[in-house]
């Protein structure tokens, strides 16, 4: 019987054989990282990126508008549903990602103030609409989306604002008094990049110990046989920004290990960006 037939008939048995040997079917180690490719500024808007990693390709576009200073929400995320991503799942991801902005993991609110030509803060703020389109979904979406948003924000270039409204004037600012000056461009001041890693927890029922095997960034096939999946997002100062757990994990040490692996990977990324 060829391996492809076995893969179709008994995917669990097929994958278990590989996981016992400590590798994925493609030869990658169970805790080996996968290649991440990104390109900035290709999808319009004030900033954009295309990211491809672990069989997932997403594009991210940021559109900016100006509003008066308020307590309202400045960033809105819209992950567009596609053939591979249902509307319900897209809404789940939107809800999941929004706290990363409200708790200042990507960017601090004060860094969204509009600036004039001399870099002076005006009583206006930038509002962003971040649109994420899923081009290919053969793995975990969250890893790619977090990276794509980070890359698009790093690519964002905002014009200076000319405000024809004197400081002492107590009347409301009119739309016609606000003008964009594309001669001077400001870049966003971002927090250190976030790193998101997804893991699968596979239980080998045939072994005597029924031990839990940790899989890093499993593909869809491997995820389908995992008892639990977990995504961890770590930001500046090794602070955990998000934990998303699905399924049943029977060891607390696994959770800690996932966080440590993600933190190490983030350190590598920060070092790579520094030296680049």
């Amino acid at each position: 019987m060829s391996s492809e037939v076995l893969r179709g008939i008994d995917p669990l048995g097929y994958l278990t054989t590989f996981f016992r040997e400590g590798v994925f079917p493609d030869g990658r180690g169970l805790l080996d990282e996968q290649k991440l490719v990104f390109k900035q500024g290709e999808c319009g808007g004030v900033g954009s990126s295309v990211v491809s990693t672990q069989g997932v390709t997403v594009s991210c576009t940021i559109e900016a508008s100006v509003s008066l200073v308020s307590d309202g929400q400045l960033i809105n995320i819209q992950i567009e549903p596609s053939q591979q991503l249902s509307e319900k799942e897209a809404e789940d991801f939107n809800n999941l990602l929004l706290p990363l902005f409200t708790n200042g993991s990507f960017i601090l609110r004060e860094n969204l103030r509009c600036l004039d030509v001399n870099g002076k803060a005006l009583p206006l703020e930038w509002q962003f609409l971040i649109t994420v389109k899923v081009l290919c979904l053969e793995g975990n979406l969250l890893d790619a989306v977090v990276c794509a948003i980070g890359a698009a924000l790093a690519d964002t270039k905002l014009p200076s604002i000319v405000l024809n409204h004197s400081e002492g004037d107590e009347s409301a600012i009119e739309k016609s008094q606000i003008q964009a000056d594309y001669g001077t461009i400001h870049k966003l001041i971002l927090e250190e990049p976030l790193m998101c890693c997804s893991f699968g927890v596979f239980v080998d029922n045939d072994s005597k110990k029924k031990s839990e095997i940790l899989l890093m960034t499993p593909d869809i096939e491997a995820t389908s046989v995992c008892r639990a999946t977990c995504s961890v997002v770590i930001g500046k100062g090794d602070r955990i920004a998000l934990v998303r757990e699905r399924g049943r994990i029977t060891s607390f040490s696994l959770l800690k290990k996932m966080c440590q692996i993600t933190a190490e990977r983030r350190h590598k990324l920060v070092e790579a960006l520094r030296t680049a």
């Binding site: 994990i249 029977t250 607390f252």
Partner: protein, 240 residues
Amino acid sequence: MSIISEHGFRLDGRRPAQIRNVNTRLGLNRNAEGSSYLEHGNTKVLCAVYGPYEGKASKRLEDRCAIVCQYSTTTFSGLERKNRPRGDRKSTEMSRLLEKAFESVILTESFPRSQIDIFCEVIQGDGSNLAACVNATSLALADAGIPMKGIASAATCGIVEGNPIVDLTSREETDLLPRVTLATICGRDEVVLVELHNRLHIDHLSVVMEAAKATCADVYECLAVVAQQHLKACAPILGN
């Protein structure tokens, strides 16, 4: 505002590792297969479970039952009056979290092509709402007699200057305090839900998890006693 006083007490007079009083009642809703009312201090939750029944074709799964959860809060549950009790972003997120958690708790393979509906309503919210909903749902499922891997218990744990505090109230759930809601099965090391609010330093993870795990075990003890008492009370009705 200091969350822990210099004498080691919290705003409501509790010690950092002390949970609030837990009061429960089972079988309140006669129309539902199972129901429960649970109080964690001033957090009050009502839960009803319907099913398993042959659900909508669109939600039907061939190999297991579908869990559909609806989380809602009364408009007067918090300090701010809400315009609508459900359907907002937060309620939707909570519903999904409960759904995913109980998919791992209920023996869903026992009821293929069927559906179980869980309705949780926070009547009064005073912190740890998600944990209270998990605990109330566990009791309602037990009341409905739905087979589970065990009773799930949940607790919210935060960290203040390196020291964990458990079962947070709404005054303690500030924008800066990192807090984790953890749910385990039977108080053991079987995690079915982890939810993090605000940023938590990786070095504090073990401390928070240990405190949350211990609290889940404590809460489980309470829930197990309630379930056993309810079973004893039902024994004459069942003819045992």
